[in-house]
Symmetry: C2
Subunit: 160 residues, 2 copies
């Protein structure tokens, strides 16, 4: 078995250095830990869903439209914490790719009602099949009960 050939005794790899640092203050900082956890989930997401071309944002958009056909862009934007112009850009792409459809509301002709096309419904159905294994991989260090607990605590600190 080959021992790691660290030429100079004092030298430390990035990983070794992390282990030797005093990180206790950051570990007790919820905002920082949330950021790291979120980065981990996003990186994992791109790996898992790359084949389908889904991003975290489009995944959420698809799910909300699927469960709430007719939802307006403004509702979607405020829910997902996206600025409306940035969401519109994404919706334009999703529509021109044939995944969603925009209908003008009859009651208020300014308003737009969003819905999935069959093609969009198929895509998010495929994505949904990857969701469980992906979540399990991300939360692997936690028991089922702990996973539920984490989710519940997160829900509690958020408005809905």
């Amino acid at each position: 078995m080959m021992s790691p050939k660290t030429a100079r005794p004092g030298a430390k790899s990035a990983q070794a250095l992390e282990k030797s640092l005093d990180l206790r203050a950051l570990q007790r900082t919820p905002g920082f830990m949330l950021r790291l956890a979120q980065l981990k989930f996003f990186e994992g997401f791109y790996e898992e869903f790359a084949a389908l071309g889904l991003t975290p944002a489009t995944y959420a958009i698809f799910v909300v439209i699927r469960d709430n056909p007719g939802v307006p862009p403004s509702g979607l934007a405020s829910l997902l914490r996206l600025r409306l112009p940035n969401l519109i850009k994404i919706l334009n792409e999703l529509e021109s790719s044939g995944f969603i459809k925009r209908n003008r509301s009859k009651a208020d002709r300014r308003a737009v009602e969003l819905m999935l096309t069959p093609k969009g419904a198929k895509l998010i159905a495929e994505g949904a099949r990857l969701t469980e294994p992906y979540n399990q991989k991300m939360l692997a260090p936690l028991s089922e009960a702990e996973q539920r607990s984490l989710l519940e605590l997160l829900n509690r600190i958020l408005p809905f």
Copy 2:
């Protein structure tokens, strides 16, 4: 008492709309909830620490240097999940503002050792006083035990 004057019966405010949407799928999606929680913490952070000129990133940088004087930029970058060039830009500002100091390592003259100046130490000490009330505000819906639990679960799914 004035009733909200919604002229047209069918109309819904953004908030009312959120309440009427089916969000159960997203609520069971840890990655999405983590993102929302992180956004909440960041927004709250900017409000709370704006007077000190601290951002989430500079706060973390100060804390790590404070607890680990001599830490190199590369170690800091990998720990905070920042690309080195982006961190360097921040370090340049912090140094030219007199908050941190760069020393060339004697053992390896490529390496840089970071430390706080007295001015920097004072700033993070002031910031530290705001930390507890800020965290309490962000986590207000949770009991003390639940707050500890959330923190522990987050620590468990992360590498260190």
